[in-house]
Point group: C2
Chain length 345, copies 2
Amino acid sequence: MSLSDVVPQLFPFYHDKVEAELKGIINSNPSLLLGMLRYHMGWQDEHGHPCYEKSGKFIRPILCLLSCEVVGGETRQILPAAAAVELIHEFSLIHDDIEDASNERHHRPTVWKLWGQPQAINSGDCMLSLACLALVKLKESGIADKKIIGSTQMLAEACLQLCEGQYLDIDYEGRFDVTIEDYLSMIAKKTAKLIAVSTSLGTYLGTEDEKLVNYLYQFGKELGMVYQIHDDILDIWGVRGKTGKSIRSDISQKKKTLPVVYGLQNSKGEVRRRLEEIYLQEHIQGEDLFEVMRILEQLGARDYSQNLAKQYYHQALAQLEATGLASQNLGPLKEIARFFLERDY
Amino acid sequence: MSLSDVVPQLFPFYHDKVEAELKGIINSNPSLLLGMLRYHMGWQDEHGHPCYEKSGKFIRPILCLLSCEVVGGETRQILPAAAAVELIHEFSLIHDDIEDASNERHHRPTVWKLWGQPQAINSGDCMLSLACLALVKLKESGIADKKIIGSTQMLAEACLQLCEGQYLDIDYEGRFDVTIEDYLSMIAKKTAKLIAVSTSLGTYLGTEDEKLVNYLYQFGKELGMVYQIHDDILDIWGVRGKTGKSIRSDISQKKKTLPVVYGLQNSKGEVRRRLEEIYLQEHIQGEDLFEVMRILEQLGARDYSQNLAKQYYHQALAQLEATGLASQNLGPLKEIARFFLERDY
């Protein structure tokens, strides 16, 4: 049984719950910005007609729910928190697409491409405000006030780190001296922090056991590293049309992804000179994209990246084991971890 | 004694408290985005050297503190809430400057002008996250959990309306059919809501009397209308160099401010034709700016706007009186109301 067979069977149950909650939150707000938000979520086309495009994977809210369930918490009660995590992720996507001048997401034009930058900035801000309001909704499901404030703090801190990670990501575009360490610290902020908060928030709302919250936080952090490194690999060597984003767009935008950082650090002589020459252009296009890909492959950047992702994957599993929770209960979280390592979309 | 003599004597005491709180919040976060935030606040120049530029008026947090004090609350205790209100306002300024392509604020280049749009979007997002964290800080000053959640809800709702108001403001730029009613509904969202939340939040944190909270909310709402209408007037007929923004930038960006909406609705024949001709250009510049100004003046748009501002001012005062609070205690809030109506910066 291949993973792509397993995971889609695991996700729909939670995916539907999360989507229903998100629709409730977004549609209950009679905002004029709604159309852009619903378009971004894949629920309607740019003219406001309902559509059934493939939307996001809702991987973060699903992790949040599973991490609640694994410690014996009630997932129904924490749906607004799971939705809040996704709203923060979606807000960051809308703004990142502007910042990175990305034209496509999920095989469709990005919000800024259709409505322009000003309204896209606005709709991202609106999405972030809805995340705050989602947490307030936890009152209705009987979550203690203290924990609602704790959740707000966790998510706001994740959001701060997201901004900082994105700052570094953009800053690195023009640099050649980015080390592996710099890269890891950037993705820890840009990607891993929100995933760590997704898992630990679910646990925090499902148990009073702080140790478990910490283990699940660490699990999410390691898992977030797997996710981003694998994402970097997919951008270069993924199958066109699967990921929903333009392929090799990281290279064309001169993003310092792991294979590139590794390549720049481990190339010498003529190869290094050629890489620098290509990366000194404003945009990398056409044949140069393939040349970068070939050079990185020859330097072993792909193997290096895959091995590092595997290392984080094993560290993530170790954190899960350390919880001491019954192995059969950890199954779904382990499945997701494997999906992060092996997904092709 | 002129107003400009009175108000600066009233503000510094609160201004300094708010600024100290804001510095604490912004500086306690060791973010790489800090430099941009500190620059925006007027605390350092673009190279990171401290400077003593004139910063914002902190009118919203000051209103928040005064509205707490007037109902017998402890202002020291609610400083983080006052700071949160300002952080939301500042976040919206950073993003609005991008959305409106404004080059200057407080006589200095805007954040996006110096660091580019991507990092400016990022720094606005960072400011908004800090606002959430500021509210969490209320725990330390002994505010009840229930009220912290209530505050989060009030500010998140204000933020949503802000986005919606800004959406309309941009949407109206290309339209000729904006009515006075459309305009009033737009500024109620873009400007008045956050001012209403500033006053009512202070009261909410200072008393258990819901009626007082409602009166102060209404007071802030009326006051917000005064503020924006007066701002519209200042943009056209203000003294260059006083407001810190480029003068007549609203006209040049084809913003549907009150005088313009009035002018478009109350002009006929040749005058109307000329106004439309000017407003069909992509940007309004040079001699056309002065022509719009002259036409609006002749149509009575300035008088109309001033009278409407006065009307809202009196409605604001009526809400204050309705509180039944001792008249001498209402003095500072009344002073600010008068400042809103008569300020020249």
